[in-house]
């Protein structure tokens, strides 16, 4: 079974690669990343739908095989071109990505934890265990207390459950390896996105160094929560947006819509990101209905899957249940002490854990002020505003809620902040030289 599933995943990846190569031209590395992300998103959708429609796992694999068979002719030709590229020795063997991978693996060797953060096993892996059992996966919704977070989206649990079904065991290694891979993807993607955009090595290596020397970021290597996967998708959204604005390649808009909307399927904060980025994108392109319709067409599948899940299965989100009604929310919004507490905690956590981010922002302000008028900065700023609003109306103890979650939220946008700031710095420096 394992061999059949792996072969099918590889074939599915190649099929997605083939499709993506028509949407995203000019960057092979970006094609690899987007194909992998799209393939994993599709696998999670298919696994979730197999639970909804009570399909056996073997039938799901037959379905994926059927999709692959229909593409076999094209995939065969793509395999052939891969083989030709490899044998011709076209790869220039860039050492940096492999060095990054080794450093992260070495760090993982000494600091990796078996079950990750509390939320990792108590929520995400626990949800995955429910999804592992197709006959009783809806028992996940039995605990309606807001601490159980049963309304969380299912991409990560569905992927973990899929791989558990593939090997027939709920081993700790699957969520651990997914966590490791997601974290390793971020510096690699940053490097491969910045290098062609800035046409130099220094800033991409600087970006990697910022992340690899950050013990808070590296501490997420075995986190096993959905913050880092969300961070990957948010970063990819910005990378694709940059590619789109640079190349004006309209087909990329489909992919941009898909990746951005897939954030909704990862975490509830992804809903916020999707709403903010999509609104910014539509405002910028309001005179181009073709672009907007392509974006919406790309986003449609993740939106339908996520909203159908939210509508049909997921219980009400914690913030609007458990007595947190309109009156209670209004009272909290008028409470000045909550604003003070949030400001105080933000300042403490930013200075203690994200001082590099503050330095980077000040530096980019000095080098290229255009950044502060860009879609990138406005989206990231509104994300921070969204987090703040959520804290303001939080049903939890506010100090505890901020202390236990703000660094995770910041890590969702931190790699994107590094990417976008260095992009603007690099452009300015390139213009000077």
């Amino acid at each position: 079974m394992i061999v059949i599933v792996i072969i099918n995943l590889v074939l599915l990846w190649v099929a997605v690669y083939k499709l993506n190569s028509k949407l995203l031209q000019g960057s092979t590395a970006l094609l690899y990343y987007t194909s992998t992300l799209v393939m994993l998103t599709l696998v999670s959708f298919l696994y979730y739908l197999s639970l909804v429609f009570k399909l056996q796992f073997s039938l799901l694999i037959i379905l994926i095989s059927a999709i692959n068979l229909s593409h076999l002719y094209f995939t065969a030709s793509t395999f052939k071109s891969f083989y030709i590229n490899l044998t011709k020795g076209k790869s220039n063997y860039d050492i940096v990505p492999f060095l990054v991978l080794f450093i992260i693996a070495f760090f993982f060797l000494f600091t990796g934890s078996k079950y990750g953060f509390f939320d990792g096993w108590a929520l995400w892996n626990s949800h995955a265990k429910f999804l592992f059992h197709p006959d009783s996966w809806q028992n996940m919704f039995a605990d309606t207390t807001y601490e159980s977070s049963a309304d969380y989206p299912l991409m990560l649990p569905a992927l973990i459950a899929f791989f558990w079904r593939m090997i027939g065991s709920t081993t700790f290694m699957v969520p651990l390896l997914i966590s490791f891979t997601a974290l390793a993807t971020i510096p690699l993607l940053l490097y491969h996105a910045l290098k062609p955009a800035l046409k130099n090595y220094y800033l991409p290596i600087f970006a990697i160094a910022l992340l690899l020397t950050d013990h808070v970021f590296m501490g997420f290597v075995s986190e096993q929560c959905a913050d880092i996967p969300l961070s990957v998708f948010i970063l990819m959204t910005f990378v694709l947006y940059n590619h789109l604005t640079k190349t004006k390649e309209q087909a990329t808009t489909y992919l941009l819509g898909f990746i951005c909307a897939s954030c909704m399927w990862i975490k509830n904060e992804g809903l916020l990101f999707c709403a903010i980025f999509s609104a910014s994108f539509m405002i910028v392109n309001y005179k181009r209905p073709g672009v907007i319709s392509r974006y919406i067409a790309g986003a449609l599948l993740p939106i339908i899957v996520t909203l159908s899940y939210k509508q049909l299965y997921a219980p009400d989100t914690a913030f609007f249940s458990s007595g947190n009604n309109t009156q209670a929310i209004l009272t909290k919004l008028q409470d000045s002490s909550r604003y003070m507490l949030i400001a105080e905690k933000y300042a403490a956590i930013l200075l203690e854990r994200f001082w590099i981010a503050l330095i980077v922002i000040v530096a980019v302000g000095a080098i290229n002020r255009q950044y502060f008028k860009s879609v990138y900065f406005i989206t990231l700023l509104l994300m921070l505003g969204g987090y703040t609003f959520v804290y303001l109306i939080s049903p939890y103890h506010l100090g505890w809620h901020i202390y236990t979650s703000f660094h995770r939220l910041m890590n969702q946008i931190y790699p994107s902040l590094i990417f976008t700031t260095l992009l603007f710095c690099g452009r300015k420096l390139n213009a000077i030289h």
Binding site: G89, N92, Y93, I95, F98, L99, L101, F102, I104, A105, F106, F108, L109, G112, K114, Y115, F118, W121, A122, N125, S126, K129, F130, F132, H133, D135, S136, W137, N139, M140, A142, D143, T145, E147, F172, M173, L176, L177, F180
Partner: protein, 130 residues
Amino acid sequence: MHLRLSQKKLIVMLLLAGAVACVIAKCWWLNRITFDIDSMQQAIAPMQKHIKPNATVGFVSNLDSTNQYALYYSSKFILAPQKLLLKSDKDTLLAVQLKGRELLRLPQYKIIDSGSTADKLILLLTLNKP
């Protein structure tokens, strides 16, 4: 420093092999270590056969309400997909108690199965029905 293609290939292969070796070594090492949740799993897993497929099991412990969360979520993770709720009014209860503390007395329940770890006594209880 300018490296030839063959040298670059060798370095890439070594780094890749090193990365894979680090990950395999870590997984192997973690597989050997028994964490608290693993020992709880060994104690609770045999009890699952006594629980009907869609029955709801309550959870009690001899810790205060703040500290029992970790125990509850560990038990929920282990028992999944069976339903475990942080409620003490169910016909079936999972009682996870720390050995060093005063044990709960639940005279209206009888023990179906029991297990233990180094520091915990774990009981599956059912309501005594007349």
